[in-house]
Symmetry: C2
Subunit: 112 residues, 2 copies
Amino acid sequence: MARPFVHPPIEDVSLEGVLYALADPHRLAIFRRLTGCGGTMNCSTAAPCDLPKSTLSHHFKLLREAGLIRSEKQGTQVVNMARCDELEQKFPGLVHAILTSSDACESDGINR
Amino acid sequence: MARPFVHPPIEDVSLEGVLYALADPHRLAIFRRLTGCGGTMNCSTAAPCDLPKSTLSHHFKLLREAGLIRSEKQGTQVVNMARCDELEQKFPGLVHAILTSSDACESDGINR
DNA sequence: TTCAATAGTTCAATATTCTTGAACTATTGA
DNA sequence: TCAATAGTTCAAGAATATTGAACTATTGAA
């Protein structure tokens, strides 16, 4: 694709950005799948929701630029992975607490 | 004031709502002050930022309806307190992780 | 090679949400 | 009774989000 992906260095990743990115149920669901799978996933697979692809693309971009995921082009697809280790170092316990809380919430209705 | 305050029961408080509420730097700053003081604080004191009062009122309402704070009228003012214990029970470790991460971020520029 | 299919991205327009000035309300103290 | 205080509410303009349509890059097959 035309422009290369933007991945902020971990020191530029802000708490607000992270919270904002994960405050959206679709993005939280995507991030959960990426952390859950341990490895990489392409966009449409990681998104367990039937949103238009332009919307999905937007969500992935936001997750990426918030510092939550790393994306890389691979053939015709883009593979994504959660930046768990870096995040854990910058925001200790945060991702874990969010994922745990999210697990406990069936109310989301979108996750899984 | 006309309409009474709305405080959702803790079981109706959603993770997304909490994340969204705290994704705003002003609201995070307000919440931090409320947790930091341990007790109650009126709105203008809890808000360490010089926003118009209509905006502040909106932020307090959002924090309240997201389940993060409890507000009560006392004379001419409204006193607020963080719902820490309830939140801890529903979302273990979450508030603590956010506050810790927030402490570590001087980049916010608004907190304290 | 060419061509169609795949997997996203980008753009632009509409829809939704936020911010804030101005007017309003409730309480207090003089 | 009145002014001051501390917020709330409303409405309008500003800022963001969502999404259909057009576009791009890569692959695999003919």
